[in-house]
């Protein structure tokens, strides 16, 4: 049996000692190449859960990425294995030109600028935004920034993708392209989203968070979703 790509074992998160827990006793795992949707109402803890997996928020319990426990000393290694999309894509665009931003993860790995830019151009092409390669990021629309940020997360071909609202702000063709692209990847994915149709098209398993706890974990979330209506 292969080890999971990501595992949460009785994980709780509170931002300050004594404060109310944002996540309580969360336990589940994501197998290699499995695509899991993380659903929940606003404030249910989806973003916090994703951030805890890359060590951006302190947690109790144990989180494993592949065979490595998430801890301060293991963070650089873990973060290299993960592609992460923030829910405000503008925040993670750190370079003024699109191609430089997308190529950064590869330059960081030691690839030459030319090689990294060529691979970045391929990813931009696969997302249908090759025409934006030379654009300043400030001139992009919100949806375009979303795709550029996603390209930056995908370019290093990580084994695990943690995506926070990846389909938000995308137009319908953009969502289709994204779903097709993600479905064709070998990586395991945990996708926090409110976009049920997008999740249903892409994911094979649904986890619903309610007030920081796992309320549902299965292949058919329709009962829970009906409860929201």
């Amino acid at each position: 049996m292969t080890e999971p790509a990501l595992a949460f074992r009785d994980v709780s998160v509170r931002y300050e000692p004594g404060a109310a827990a944002i996540l309580s006793g969360v336990s589940f795992s994501v197998a290699a190449r499995e695509r899991v949707a993380l659903l929940g109402l606003n404030g249910s803890g989806k973003t916090t859960l994703l951030k805890s997996a890359v060590g951006l928020v302190p947690h109790e319990g144990e989180i494993l990425v592949a065979d490595t426990v998430v801890a301060r000393r293991t963070l650089p290694k873990i973060r290299e294995r993960i592609g992460f999309l923030f829910n405000v894509p503008e925040d993670q665009l750190l370079f003024p030109r699109v191609i430089d931003d997308v190529a950064f993860a590869l330059v960081r790995q030691g690839q030459s600028s030319g090689e990294a830019s060529a691979k970045a151009a391929d990813v931009l092409n696969s997302l249908g935004i090759s025409d934006l390669a030379e654009s300043p990021v400030h001139h992009l629309s919100h949806g375009q920034k979303q795709r550029v940020a996603l390209a930056g997360a995908l370019v290093a071909q990580p084994g695990l993708l943690l995506l926070d609202e990846p389909s938000a702000s995308l137009d319908p063709p953009g969502k289709q392209i994204l779903a097709r692209l993600l479905a064709g990847l070998d990586a395991a994915m945990l996708i926090a989203t409110h976009d049920i149709a997008f999740a249903a098209r892409l994911c094979t398993r649904f986890i619903v968070l309610e007030q920081g706890r796992v309320a549902f974990d299965g292949v058919d979330a329709s009962d829970v979703l009906r409860g929201w209506e």
């Binding site: 925040d91 993670q92 750190l94 370079f95 993860a105 960081r108």
Partner: protein
């Protein structure tokens, strides 16, 4: 002033843009230092400052409209220093008595300030936002320093555009009118705007950390090294800087 933040970067079309980015940055820094060191109160020093500014503008050749805009901006910022003239006691500028001497300190401030504004603008115009990063990473600066400098420039642009969006929203929601609604919006702005900036700074810091922005070596490995023309221009600029130092040390003839 209609010059937008991002449009200013790399808008110059002069011969200096053929130099490698790090040489352009160094030349701008040396020209700036020359203007700050040359004694602005002497004829020779004044000519050296004016000559340096003119030469740097000619070499980088930003659009005339941009030069004019920044000249107006510099004068608007600096000319009010002359309002201090009545408060300056005669002889405080180092020479005895008279109203003429009282005008000297603000005049020096205006000359130095305006030369600094124009040289900084021309330097910014001579490097694009991407070549700024390349230039900084090739200079012998600690990686963290160049990374943070680039990020300051980048995030300033982000805030600039966000401020424009907020201004548009304010206008639409009544701040451009008069009366109570306008005051309510203007009054609540700092309470909304400041936490928003702090939150954004936190989120950007998280993204920088996660993407390994300040870790390890991301210096470009190939190309972009200083060539003979770059070294020659730098030597010329350093010679002018040396002249400014000599004039300053020797004092007025």
């Amino acid at each position: 002033m209609q010059t937008h933040w991002h449009d200013l970067w790399g808008c110059a079309r002069g011969p200096v843009v053929k130099l490698v980015p790090q040489a352009r940055l160094l030349l701008g820094a040396v020209a700036f230092a020359t203007c700050m060191i040359a004694p602005a109160a002497t004829v020779t020093g004044g000519l050296l400052i004016v000559g340096t500014v003119a030469a740097w503008l000619a070499a980088s050749r930003p659009p005339l409209r941009t030069v004019a805009s920044f000249m107006v901006l510099g004068l608007l910022l600096l000319l009010p220093t002359f309002l201090l003239v009545p408060l300056i006691p005669p002889g405080s500028a180092g020479s005895p008595g008279g109203w003429g001497d009282a005008f000297l300190p603000p005049a020096i401030l205006v000359v130095r300030g305006l030369s600094g504004v124009l040289i900084s603008m021309a330097t910014v115009a001579s490097v694009s936002a991407s070549s700024l990063r390349e230039g900084l990473t090739r200079l012998p600066l600690p990686g963290i320093v160049s990374a943070i400098l680039v990020q300051i420039v980048h995030q300033t642009a982000t805030l600039f555009y966000e401020t424009k969006r907020v201004a548009s929203a304010m206008a639409v929601r009544g701040a451009s009118g008069s009366g109570r609604a306008a005051w309510q919006i203007l009054w609540s702005l700092p309470q909304v705007w400041l936490p928003r900036i702090v939150d954004r700074a936190d989120r950007v810091a998280e993204a920088m950390e996660l993407r390994g922005y300040c870790d390890g070596e991301t210096r470009p490995q190939h190309g972009g090294r200083m060539r003979a023309a770059d070294w020659a221009m730098l030597a010329l600029a350093l010679a002018v800087l040396g002249l400014a130092v000599v004039i300053r040390v020797r004092g007025p003839a």
